[in-house]
């Protein structure tokens, strides 16, 4: 790794002020993504500010109304093991458990997890291949290169990368909010607005501004929580990023869907919410497979596969269906 300075933050206000005035400063929590990026020279901060000692940011709180507040410094393993998380929102626990390994889940924070950068090999490659996310204006090697793992929705000529977080897909489906603190106080970013599509500026992954710190993720109370499921399909059974994944949550009257929430991972630069399908699924019977399939299909009209990933379109439809059915089995 390159040389850098390291200091420890004692309070959030000072950490935020330091981050705001210093473009070469990065926060470090679990470090599982940042240190990898630094080893691959895809991130070269001159100063790291260790935020692990910030008070009150690792708590997992079951809000009395049925929601959750997950501190940004809570570790993936603690959130996945939390009894209330498992009871209220199995989809969150499952998404976390299907990610990374036991060791990494003990290290990685929730705030860092949703900020992790793409696994696109051209972005991560130490030889500085064309990548607009890594070096603006250098081109996208994946657009006509090896793009089997890349996006089928929402990509641009500038970037076809996908977002690799699993739990972000669950948060998107559940309409979570990212609570962010800056110099002038807190703001609450709806999860769907947190990650960006690449457009012409793929170097920016999220709506976070310099001088902002994620303090928590809040999951609102909702009728579709317990009947939820995360399904992940990958090249090997465990310890691998998704080819395609789906988070589904349902509220039902008997076998009839009252409301459905459905989001996909591994298909876009951000968790991809299937809003058209959700509308079409209202009133459908969980036992009517053809109706479920055609409702899901409404969200695939704008799918644009690349040369190497045409299989993801059919795979994503099937993963969506099975995630819905598995969530339905818990209703």
């Amino acid at each position: 790794m390159h040389r850098f300075a390291l200091s420890r933050a004692g309070d959030a206000a000072m950490a935020i002020a330091a981050h705001a005035r210093d473009p070469a400063l990065a926060f470090i929590a679990g470090g599982t993504d940042l240190l990898g990026l630094m080893k691959d020279r895809a991130a070269l901060p001159e100063r790291l500010l260790d935020i692990n000692g910030l008070p009150d940011m690792a708590r997992i709180e079951a809000v009395p109304d049925g929601g959750l507040r997950i501190g940004a410094l809570a570790r993936m393993s603690d959130v996945a093991a939390d009894v209330e998380v498992r009871r209220r929102f199995p989809v969150i626990a499952e998404a976390l458990l299907f990610a990374a390994s036991g060791q990494l889940r003990n290290m990685a924070s929730i705030g860092g997890n949703i900020l992790q950068r793409t696994r696109c090999p051209y972005f991560r490659d130490g030889d500085d291949l064309p990548c607009n996310k890594r070096r603006a204006g250098s081109g996208c090697a994946a657009l006509r290169g090896l793009n089997r793992n890349h996006a089928i929705f929402g990509w641009s000529e500038a970037c076809v990368a996908t977002h690799a977080s699993d739990v972000a897909v669950a948060f998107a489906a559940l309409d979570a909010h990212v609570i962010v603190r800056g110099r002038s106080g807190e703001r609450s970013i709806p999860f769907g607005d947190f990650h960006r599509l690449p457009g012409d500026t793929p170097q920016r992954d999220t709506a976070l501004e310099r001088g902002e710190l994620i303090v928590a993720v809040e999951v609102p109370a909702q009728e579709a929580g317990r009947a939820s499921h995360y399904l992940k399909v990958r090249d090997r059974q465990s310890y691998e990023f998704a080819l395609v994944s789906a988070a589904a949550a349902l509220a039902t009257d008997g076998r009839r869907i009252r409301s459905a929430r459905l989001a996909l991972g591994g298909v876009a630069h951000k968790p991809w919410r299937l809003t058209a399908a959700e509308t079409a699924l209202r009133g459908a019977s969980l036992d009517d497979v053809e109706a479920l399939k055609s409702a899901i299909a409404t969200s695939f009209a704008d799918a644009r596969p690349l040369a190497g990933n045409g299989f993801k379109v059919e795979l994503a439809r099937r993963v969506s269906l099975r995630a819905l059915q598995s969530a339905g089995a818990r209703a």
Binding site: A5, A18, I28, G31, S101, G102, Q103, M107
Partner: protein, 187 residues
Amino acid sequence: MRSRTRPIPKADVSAPLSVRLTVNGRPRTIAVEPRTTLLDALRDMLALSGTKKGCDRGECGACTVHIDGRRVLSCMTLAAMQEGRRITTIEGLEDGGRLHPVQAAFVEHDGFQCGFCTSGQIMSGVAMIEEAKAGWPSAATADVARSLTLADLSNAEIRERMSGNLCRCACYPNIVEAIAEAATGRR
């Protein structure tokens, strides 16, 4: 309110930082550059070479150690961030010359071939059994809402929970047997 944020050094940004930590029960003080990983500090400064450097990217698990009893990857951890932590490596598992039950089970079940991944496998296995005792679910758990006990630690559960440790000699069947016996007495 007085800030506890340490000033950012101007002159030599990578000057060694002094870190106090406990390694295998012994208090140690080391001076490390900020960029030194815990893995490199253990191997190169404390001469604890039982912890192995495989991929150095958090992909293989060979560098697994325990921090405050939890399994982590020492290659993705900065040594300078471990002030006050309790580190256990493979060298610290034995008790007065007696092997830890997981170590003994690896010998009994021939849970290795070249041995390069073995210390990481064992460190991971020891902590994984504690996680299961604490009732943690895994991706192999059908219903995550249900509480779990050691009796639920099937071979499928063990394989899933150990998936962060790769063995290129593919000794997986024997590794699973060794851990199953150490955890549950199942042979």
